[in-house]
């Protein structure tokens, strides 16, 4: 596709979004405890290494977005919910974690399971 200067300026200033306007039933609700999956694909993922296997709490639901893992591999958008997950510093960093520290991470649905 060809774009002209006006379109290029508009796109540069406005940015782009990976949000997808499709309806997907969320698996989790705010307040749910969730454990991150221990995934180690050699391909692309946006699951940060330091939250793998860790337990957090769903803070809120951002809505439905393209799933980077399949999208980067030419395997489609696989739209799914992205949630804000709250982790404590102690959960992520153990004894070196600050007692009052918390980290909020945007996490795709496919990166987690319910935690008991």
């Amino acid at each position: 596709m060809a774009i002209n200067v006006t379109q290029a300026m508009a796109a540069t200033l406005a940015g782009a979004t990976a949000r997808v306007e499709v309806s997907v039933t969320p698996r989790f609700q705010p307040g749910d405890r969730v454990r991150m999956r221990n995934l180690n694909p050699p391909s692309h993922t946006r699951l940060p290494r330091y939250i793998k296997g860790k337990v957090g709490v769903i803070e809120r639901d951002h809505g439905v977005f393209v799933y980077p893992d399949t999208h980067a591999a030419g395997q489609g958008e696989k739209p799914q919910h992205v949630y804000v997950v709250r982790f404590t510093g102690k959960e992520l960093w153990g004894p070196q974690g600050g007692a009052n520290d918390e980290l909020l991470v945007d996490v795709w649905d496919d990166y987690m399971d319910p935690a008991s």
Binding site: A16, N40, P42, H44, P48, P68, H71, A72, G74, L92
Partner: protein, 102 residues
């Protein structure tokens, strides 16, 4: 991938430098690389997640290079992989620029 792109929680990189009155670009070439993004992206040859994956596939070079060098490396990787520019065309162009600057 468990790659060099995922730096969260790693030690030994020193403190984050916060510049007072930080310019949008530190060098003219950075402005040009930024400007390349949209026209290259608009070809539809790759998507944003392939772009990020191309950056993380830089390996150790990632740590020694700057933000817009990462972008440039991703353009070169993807344009060659997608068959839009050949490795020969890259090397010929580099040689020509080196000659012009000699």
């Amino acid at each position: 991938m468990n790659g060099v792109h995922d730096l969260g929680g790693m030690h030994g990189f020193g403190s984050i430098v916060v510049e007072k009155d930080e310019p949008v670009f530190h060098h003219e070439w950075e402005r040009r690389v930024f400007g390349m993004f949209l026209p290259v992206f608009a070809t539809g040859a790759f998507n944003i997640d392939e772009f990020r994956h191309a950056i993380e596939r830089m390996g150790p070079d990632y740590l020694q290079t700057s933000y817009y060098e990462h972008w440039l490396a991703a353009f070169e990787t993807l344009l060659e992989e997608k068959g839009m520019i050949s490795a020969g065309e890259f090397s010929a162009r580099r040689a020509r620029i080196a000659g012009e600057n000699a």
